[in-house]
Amino acid sequence: MMKAKDIMTQAVATISGSATVAEAVASLKENQVRTLVVERRHPDDPYGILSETDIIYKVAAYGKDPKQVRVYEIMTKPCVVVNPDLGVEYVARLFAQTGVHQAPVVSGDLLGTISIHDILTKSDFVEKPKTYFELYCEEFPDAPEARMYDA
């Protein structure tokens, strides 16, 4: 089973919650990414995320001046985070159920980000689609349900 860490994007750009949206746009363009992770203020602080969609929906759509709006006003914090060992199918299910398109991959530290695009372009779901039952059997090979019988 492929895991989040196998398909995540390791190059992450971060930004402070107090930065302006104009600075966030510049960083998105410069780093050629579609999402920024918002830096934690202390080790117990949750992670936040800022996406292209946040900027378009909440700033551009209203003609607000990105130089006057701050990241903390439009970011999502706390955000959904993904464990690096989570199976890709579970990441997809988590995304579908929560309506998110990208999330930081975190295990103690920030390891990367994972997006719909990563799932589509790097995972093996076309060659090896996995149902919940198959995932369960992979995880618990000794379970009675997982037994294979020769026909």
Partner: protein, 183 residues
């Protein structure tokens, strides 16, 4: 004001609604696209769209086999379409109000696709933010100023302050128009 046609991606690929999801994925990966436009079956048929999100949310998340699922089972059709002359601020507002991230640009025929990424990369909302409804805001501020002046007198401080607001809005609007003329 920039228009949809100024920032859209003209590199568009279409797919048939009866194609398999596996074929859609192969096409998207090969062309480096995040959405495909679903072919109309005849000239009055509406346009449809299938995105990366549709595939991940409706196929991968449930472990369905992309080789046996078809595009028509997961596509959005009819989909929201954008006319090429729509201002970028209005495209942004339309996207925000409807919760979409990309839409085909159509005038008679398919011209391109416009997405939140296009707005971010090619729009000028950072340097020239445009309030799309500023003319309405001016009308409302003028009504308000008239009401205040009628109630508190034409020489009152509140009356003068209310007209200052109108003038400020008008200045912003004419500044926007000048920007538009330049661009």
């Amino acid at each position: 004001m920039l228009k949809a046609q100024d920032i859209m991606t003209t590199d568009v690929v279409t797919i048939s609604g009866s194609a398999t999801v596996a074929e859609a994925v192969a096409l998207m990966t090969e062309k480096g696209l995040r959405s495909l436009i679903v072919d109309r079956r005849y000239s009055e048929d509406p346009y449809g769209i299938v995105t990366e999100t549709d595939i991940v949310y409706k196929v991968v998340a449930y472990g369905h086999d992309p080789k046996t699922m078809r595009v028509y089972e997961i596509m959005t059709k009819p989909c929201i379409v954008v006319p090429p002359e729509l201002g970028v601020e209005y495209v942004a507002r339309l996207f925000a109000n409807t919760g979409i991230r990309r839409a085909p640009v159509i005038k008679g025929e398919l011209l391109g696709v416009v997405s939140v990424s296009d707005i971010l990369a090619k729009g000028n909302f950072v340097n020239q933010p445009q309030r799309p409804y500023i003319e309405d805001e001016i009308d409302a501020a003028r009504d308000e100023a008239r009401r205040i002046c009628a109630e508190q007198g034409a020489t009152s401080q509140a009356c003068a302050a209310a007209w200052d607001i109108v003038e400020e809005l008008q200045a912003t609007a004419s500044h926007n128009r000048a920007d538009r003329a330049l661009s």
